[in-house]
Symmetry: C3
Subunit: 345 residues, 3 copies
């Protein structure tokens, strides 16, 4: 594809030779003839001079930096890179059709142009929307509904009474609708609280691999439209996640917590139960959140605190032995000073 | 169902109209005509006046609080709620029968009234007890035994030589009997220590989704009767977990550690290997346990310490930059004082 | 097997009766007639006198400790134990053959002496090397290649365009080649960055249960030869792991980070993205690594620091309330001293 055609498609602008043929996106170091690369971080400006790529996606500012290259200029080079990558690597949908080895209940409704892979099991009254693909060995329980253009990878489990809307992607190993973890103490044992609710996964959600999303005890666990969840994340019963959230790998969110819209939770963080987290909050990696957060902001640590404050806390934390010595020294010096004073008397 | 009949079944007591028809359990805010709700936390007493539920499960004390309602009085309203929920939502067992697409070894023994779903694989000499249900796409290895009334959800893997007793539930994605993580150094490489042991899952255990339980290296990994394990928990080789333990999501327990009875381990905690944890210990969320615990108690933090102490530690930790400034100030003031003293001389 | 024959096979030396018959490896306490046990930790020397084992694997030094036993003397008793265990418990490979219920694309290439279990799905142009075993319900995507002597347990997902070399073991529930977690901000939403790369798993790698390894965005995610990865570990897109690394359960490694050879990462640690970690680095349990590490060494904590320093930091951390009181006391005493001084004037 010509550089100028790529630029047209992503509403970018060419500087240099727009007829340059581009066939591949590559990292700056590995790129060569026929490749386009991108530099979005000013830290990597030096690669502009070093890369052998035929073209580079950059900001206007970087294009003006004095290096002679074929440029695709975009306001957000990373977004432009993602779009170019998707243009040059169109996602190949699996062929429509239903595998002979799939087990589909008579009462299930299957839309048009649907792919259902080998050994897929679809139980009573489940329904699959048009243009959706269900890869091999995936299970879809009773009364569960999938919208259109969904992409469900192999070995996924979607339990009964789950509602999945349109353009949802679910990666392998993920379980949607396992029982919430609820027990009432009865003597020295535990009486299981029945988990009678469901899960709603709204439009354009992506769930990574081996994510676990428990069903509501009563009512639903909800993942809001456009939210993206990374691998090995745990979402407990009755959690409500807002729209366009980003939840990174190995995060855990405890029962009945509500997360606002546009919230980012970095990897390995944990959020306690029954909390309310405001819109547009960001939690840094490995945060432990034990209180409501009422205003947007960046918070990190355990207990989670203002991120800048946390950076200072961590910096002092790493010097604790030294601090301890300084306190000891102060105590001795003060003692000495008092002794001197006493002697004077 | 009439309120008085519900009360009979759970050995509670009615105050108000026992003939009230109850068809559903709902949260206090969402409840309406025909619904029963519960208030177990005195913090939520205000909902008593606000809820539109036809009846409310409460303690005697709350029933006396002056609000006019139909009450189901119970010593432990949360337990009563769980029981009412289970009465109004009886668990529907999947129909008995063996799917034609299941692959069952001739030497496997299948009890009576068993459900075996599509594509289930049961290997040589495995056995399944009466009234157990094995959902679709689950694998049961050679010589493994399941007791009666077990409930194994889709896409579970139970490896060879595993013993699962009665009334055990295992959620989707869970793996029982993967190899323990053991290697002996040999030059710059690693020689795999064969993992020749098994796993015993005792009566009434529930394992959440995508839990991993490794087999013993020699001897067994054991999950004691009545213990409940949440999603994404890691149990290493030769761990022994006592009876009636509660292990919350994303906890990891390292090899050969022994956990007593009635232990609670809150989410994202880690327990080092070869430790002994006494009965009735509770670890707070995100604890890192590196030493034996010999007495019951509540412990939190990394290193795990008495929970109340940890609360004080965390509170000082969050003020470290201030502490650091106060030390600096003390140093300067002390210096000044000494200077003054010197000048006096 | 006779003790002397075992010794020959592992290149150890017998002291005592080499004709002793050994049939089983057991722990020192449980061992009896016909069992061999091992003592590698000098801490457990007392077991030498207590064990009923017919023979004990020990170092020369321990054999000289004055206890009269049949010894198998080895430089590294733990390695010797692992080898004896593997000799007495030879791994039984599943019988070669292809299950009738497997779904194998016509274009797939299957080597000789291969086991393919029930419901295995092998897509177009995939290939399986000689003497490999693929257990039931596992999925292997288009164009993916497995080398020889691989062992893939049930319910594994290997996505398309994955390269797995020789003697690789992958435990149940593991996903290789899920999409990397990459989105570019577009308005309030997220534009998915296509994940067009692959994964290379080199020779002799073992992946535990429910591990997730994302494919590269561009280029590959690589797990180096001989590396061993425990359960529930997350490896993000474009991570490069060196040779002979040990990565313990529930670790997460963020995108584009490079890990050297011989690196050990203990459980529940997290490594941030775009970092370089040198060869032969060890991270202690629950470390949070946010910076490059340029030299070998042992590091622990969050932020990760020299392990010995971290031990001191943790010891002061646990005494923070006391430190805080000492500072308060210093402030009061200093104030008092100044007051005294003033009065003198």
């Amino acid at each position: 594809m010509k550089l100028k055609d790529l630029a047209d498609k992503i509403k970018g602008r060419v500087r240099g030779n727009g007829d340059t043929e581009i066939s591949r996106v590559m990292g700056a170091e590995a790129a060569g003839e026929g490749d386009i690369t991108f530099i979005s971080n000013p830290k990597y400006t030096r690669f502009l001079g070093e890369t052998n790529a035929s073209a580079v996606i950059v900001t206007e500012e970087l294009a003006d930096a004095g290096v002679d290259k074929n440029f695709l200029i975009a306001e957000d080079p990373y977004l432009a890179f993602a779009k170019v990558l998707s243009i040059l690597n169109p996602k190949e949908a699996p062929e429509a059709g239903i595998s002979k080895s799939a087990t589909i209940a008579d009462s299930a409704k299957i839309g048009s142009n649907v792919h259902i892979g080998a050994n897929v099991v679809i139980e009573d009254n489940a329904s699959i929307g048009d243009n959706s693909s269900i890869y091999a060995n995936t299970y879809i329980g009773k009364n569960s509904t999938l919208g259109s253009q969904c992409l469900i990878y192999p070995n996924v489990t979607i339990r009964e009474n789950i509602e999945i809307k349109d353009r949802v992607s679910i990666h392998s190993g993920t379980v949607v609708g396992s029982d919430g973890f609820g027990y009432a103490k009865e003597g020295s044992g535990a009486f299981k609280v029945p988990q009678t609710g469901g899960v709603i996964i709204e439009d354009d959600v992506e769930l990574g691999a081996s994510v676990t999303i428990d069903r509501g005890t009563i009512g639903e666990t909800i993942i809001g439209a456009g939210s993206k969840i990374d691998n090995l994340v745990q979402i407990a019963h009755n959690v409500k996640i807002g729209k366009c959230c980003i939840i990174v790998a190995q995060v855990g969110i405890s029962g009945s917590t509500t997360i606002g819209d546009g919230v980012t939770i970095a990897g390995q963080s944990g959020i306690a139960g029954h909390l309310d987290i405001a819109d547009n909050v960001t939690f840094g990696a490995r945060s432990g959140v034990t209180n409501d957060v009422k205003e947007p902001g960046v918070f990190t640590g355990y207990p989670a605190m203002d991120h800048k404050k946390w950076l200072r806390v961590q910096s002092v934390y790493a010097k604790l032995p030294e601090l301890s010595k300084r306190i000891k020294k102060l105590e001795m010096e003060l003692e000495e000073l008092r002794d001197t004073d006493k002697k004077k008397k």
